[in-house]
Symmetry: C2
Subunit: 244 residues, 2 copies
Amino acid sequence: MSGIKEPAVCGNCAECKYDCCFSNRHCGDSHIFGLLTHEELHALMDNKRQIHFRPGETILKQNTPLTHLVCIKDGLAKVVSEDPKGKNLILQIIKSNSIFTGGGSIVDDFRHFTVAAITDVDCCFIDTGRLYNTLTKNSAFAIELLKHSNNQHLKMLSTLINLSNKYMPGRVADTLLYLKNNIFETNPYDFILSKQELADMSGMTKESFIRSLKEFEDSGLIHHSRNTIEILKESELIEISKNG
Amino acid sequence: MSGIKEPAVCGNCAECKYDCCFSNRHCGDSHIFGLLTHEELHALMDNKRQIHFRPGETILKQNTPLTHLVCIKDGLAKVVSEDPKGKNLILQIIKSNSIFTGGGSIVDDFRHFTVAAITDVDCCFIDTGRLYNTLTKNSAFAIELLKHSNNQHLKMLSTLINLSNKYMPGRVADTLLYLKNNIFETNPYDFILSKQELADMSGMTKESFIRSLKEFEDSGLIHHSRNTIEILKESELIEISKNG
DNA sequence: AACCTTAATTGACATTTATCAATTAATTTT
DNA sequence: AAAATTAATTGATAAATGTCAATTAAGGTT
C-alpha cells in the first residue's frame, strides 16, 4: 500500500549488523521492520537482548505476562497450546525470521500460548512498551503489524478448524504436507520432531499417529525410517487431506 | 494508554444520530471509534449503508473479497466456518455494537468466515479502503483495531482449542454457559438457535448434542423445554466443563 | 382443521479414536 | 560395552462419537 521507506539500516554499525530482524528488515513474509526509520528501529531495538535456546527449552510460557515479543533469528520453534490436563496442541511451527507474540493483544495482556525451541534457536526479545511507542509514531508500521498478526492468527485458526473437521488420516496427511511444503521444503525430509510432537500437531495420541503413518506406509504413499519421511504420492495425500 | 479524544459526535446531525457505531462511539468492549475526530469519523462513515437482514440471511460470505467490515447495530449474528463438505462450525456469536471483519487481514484479502443473521439484524458496512486511510492517519485508532482484532481472534482460537481438547459433555456445558453468561445474560434464557446450530457451536452432530442435553436434564443440571434453557446447577456444569 | 414441511428426538449400529499394557528399539549414562 | 532411561511400536480393548433410519412434534399454509 503506502511505499516502504528508503532502506534505513546503515550496515556498518554493530547493532545493525548483528541484531536479528535488523539486517534483513523483515520477518518472514512481512517487511514489517522495513517501514521503520533508522531512528525508530534503534529506539525499538536498542536494549534488546539476543538469546540462545537449546532444543526443548521454553522460550515464552503460556499465561505469563506479555512483556516482550520474540523474534526468531535462527532455528525452529513450536507454538503450543497447553491444556490444564496436559493435552498439548501444536498450532504452528515458526521458522527463522519470524516474529511472534505468544498470543495476546500486544499490550496489557498475557501470553495465550507457549513457544518452545525445537532446534537450537537464536532469538531476540522486543519490549512491548517500546513497540507500543513505535506503533503510536508510525501508523504504516502499525498497519503492517495488524496484517501480520491477523495472518498469524488466521493460520492458527485454519489449523484448528482442520483438526475439528477431519478424521485422523486427513489430519496426518495435513501434518506431513505442511512439514514438507512449509517447514523443511525438501523431500525426503529429516524431521527433528518426536512422534509425540507430530501427534500434537495432528490433534491425536502418538499411538494413533503411528498407526495412521503405518497405513500410509503400507499403501505406498510415504516411506519413513527413523527420522526421515519421504512423500511418495503427494497427490494422493492431498486427496486424503481433502476428503477429511 | 493515550487518552481518548474529546467526544466528537455532534449528536444533532442526521448521520451522527442514526448511524450505527456512531452514536455510542464504541463497538462492544472496545472504544475504537471514540479515538476518531469528528472529521475522521465522517470521512470513514460518509458513504456507508445501513442494512437490514432477516433471520438466517447471510451477511458476509466466506471466500468473497473482503471489501467491507460489518458493524452490527442491533441483533445477533453467528460467525461460521464453512467446510467444503458441509460441516459448519460456529466460532462465535456476535451481539449488538460489534465490529467484525469475517476474518482476513483487513486489506487485500478475502473473508475467512461467513457471518449470518440469527435474529433480525441492523448493521452497516464500512469500506476497507476508507478504513485503511483512517488507520494511516490515526495510529491510536490503528492500535485499537489491532487490539480488537487480536482479541476477537483469540476468542475464536480459544473456542476451537476447547473443542479439540474436550469430550462432548464438556463442550455442551461450554456452549450452555457461554449462551447464558455472554449472550443472553438471563437464566432461564430463550434460545433462538436451532439444535443444529447449538451442535455446530459445540463441534458435534445434532443427535449427539440432543443426547448430551438430555443427560444433563436427567441429572437435574438443566431444565429445557422447546426453546428455553434454564441452568439449574451452574457450578456442576462448570465442573463438567473443566474436566473436559 | 387437515395437510404439508421442517425440526427434534430416539434407537440401533458402525466407525473412529483413546486407553492401557506389553514389547521392542533407540539413546544416554555409567 | 553393559545398564538404564526414554521413545517408538504393537495389540487388545473400551470409550466416544457419528451415521442412518424411523418416529414424533412443531409450525406454517391452504
